[in-house]
Each structure stands twice: as C-alpha cells, then as structure tokens.
C-alpha cells in the first residue's frame, strides 16, 4: 500500500487516491488503490471527473517523483 494518498476515491468512497506511474516512468496518474479507477491529474480525481477508460499497468510513485511532478501539494499525509 502506498504511503502517500491524496484523498478519498470519489467513485467507490473506500479507496485512497494515490500517485502511480507507468513502469517506463513516462507517465504519471492518480489511481484509487481499491477500485483502481485512474485519472490524469489530482484535480480531475478530486472533483470526480470521468475516470480514464484505458487503464495501464503501474507502480507506486516515490515521494521524490511526486514532488518532481508538481503534485506534492496534494498529498494529505505528509
């Protein structure tokens, strides 16, 4: 389980929104760790936008990668 989460998932209301990356590290997404819905940015996830229809294999992003992506401000449990 990822240590860093953004908010409660707007879809299932059970999972946590976490930052993940594709395995080649070329793209970052926000993902629910329970229903695994994915969004392109924290803003879209938080406001409950339509999740991405094409889901990709991912791994958890590190804190450094989240900071480099400019999303560190969204992390709640720092």
């Amino acid at each position: 389980m990822s240590e860093y989460y953004i908010d409660e998932c707007p879809i299932c209301r059970q999972g946590a929104l976490i930052v993940v990356k594709t395995k080649d590290r070329n793209a970052f997404f926000v993902m629910c760790d329970d229903c695994e819905s994915q969004w392109e940015s924290p803003e879209e996830a938080i406001r409950g936008a339509e999740p991405l229809s094409d889901e990709v294999g991912v791994v958890d992003a590190t804190l450094e990668e989240i900071e480099k992506q400019g999303w560190i401000g969204y992390i709640k449990n720092l």
Binding site: P10, A16, G48, P51, E55, G57
Partner: protein
C-alpha cells in the same frame, strides 16, 4: 406352498402385464379359493385403484398449489411434505428450484494493474481484515470471496441494476450482516449491504466491500435538479 411360489414367480416374470390381473392371481394363489375371494379381491382391487387415484389427484392438487405459490394450501394437502413435493417434481423431471443454476458466476480473474494479484487477493487484502491505515473501510465478517459471490447471486436473482460510472458498474446489494465499519473512522457498525464493483458491462470483479445503507453516491453522479417554477 409350491403353488404360491409358482404364482409369485409367474407374477415376477409378468410385471409388464395388466396390474389388475397380477393382483388377482396373487390374491387367488395365496387364498386358494377363486370363487370365494374373487369378489373380495375385486373389491380390493377397486379400493386399491381408488386409493391410487386419490394419490394421483392429491399430487396434482399439490402441484397446482406449488405453481401458484399457495404454500398454505400445499401444507394442507400434505402429510409428508418433502416426500410428496419430491414425488411431484420428480414425476415431471424437475429438481428443486434454485436461483444459482442459470446464474453465471463472478469472474475473479482480473489482475490488479498495480499489484498483479487477482481480484480475490485484492478484495481479501483490502476488505478481509481491519486496516486502521484506511480512513473508511468496510470489513467482511466472513470470507470476502464467498460473501461477494453470494451477493452477486442475490443481485442477479433480484435483478438489481448497477450504477455505471466511467468503466465501472457499481452494484449495491442488500445482504444482512455482511460486515462492519472498520478503518480508522469506523465505529464497528454492522453493515447490511455489499457494494460490488465490476468492469462495466461484465462480471469481472474489480473490488467488493460491505457497506451500510446506500453509500455516498460518486461525486460525478448527475443529480437531477428541481426545476424552478417560471412566473
């Protein structure tokens, strides 16, 4: 004695013949006086036929009551309910009614794009035991997979339709005592629903967890607004 034995053998080899004749011969052979017992045998046969017909009629009445789901009437007809119902169903080539036989089960093969585990591992890990790191968490009382399968059966039997959000179908299935409110914020309240999430339009499980009454709807749900009355 040999006559009785011969008659019994004869009866045994002619089981396909007319039943009345067999019964008559059996009665005559045992009692030994054709004329004296012919009348009583005939009465016995007639009484037996009446009893058989009564049984046939009774089974028909039971069957009719079952088909119209009048179980009070069924109870009134029966001396041995299980046997009589079984005879009725059996004579019509039917088995016990069961909602499971024609309901396709859940597909648990979806692999997590993050962890690589299948859906059963995912549901069990996330909702099979208490995790205080989660702010909100539905936790199953018993086996997460079995409970979810049962919820799916209920959903299909009762034709519960899902709420579709993005590429997820969300089923909220009433199922008493499915779990409790866990996580850091949960107060161990009993949960009487199972929320089951599948890939849209499929039976492939994404996740499943117990919930209270209807959980909060997704933020993106399009709530219909009350139209203002134009002056």
């Amino acid at each position: 004695m040999s006559d009785v034995k011969d008659i019994a053998e004869s009866v045994a080899t002619r089981l396909d013949d007319n039943f009345n004749e067999i019964l008559f011969e059996w009665s005559y052979g045992l009692l030994g006086d054709r004329e004296q017992y012919q009348a009583s045998t005939a009465r016995d046969i007639h009484a037996f036929e009446n009893t058989v017909q009564s049984g046939i009629d009774k089974v028909q009445r039971i069957g009719d009551a079952i088909e119209r789901e009048d179980y009070q009437a069924v109870g009134g007809e029966l001396f041995d309910p299980a046997v009589s119902v079984g005879v009725f169903l059996g004579t019509r080539g039917k088995g016990l009614p069961g909602p499971d036989k024609n309901i396709p089960g859940l597909d648990w093969s979806k692999l997590s794009r993050r962890t690589g585990g299948d859906a059963a591992q995912h549901v069990t890990r996330n909702h099979g035991s208490l995790n205080l790191n989660k702010p909100n968490q539905g936790v199953f009382y018993s086996d997460a997979v079995e409970t979810t399968n049962d919820a799916w059966r209920i959903a299909k039997t009762e034709n519960i339709q899902p709420l579709t959000v993005g590429n997820r179908d969300i089923y909220v299935v009433p199922r008493a005592n499915s779990g409790y409110a866990g996580g850091a914020g949960g107060q161990l309240q009993n949960f009487d629903y199972v929320t089951l999430i599948t890939e849209k339009g499929t039976n492939r499980v994404v996740t499943s967890f117990p919930t209270g009454s209807t959980p909060p709807l997704p933020k993106s749900y399009d709530f219909p607004l009350l139209q203002e009355v134009k002056q």
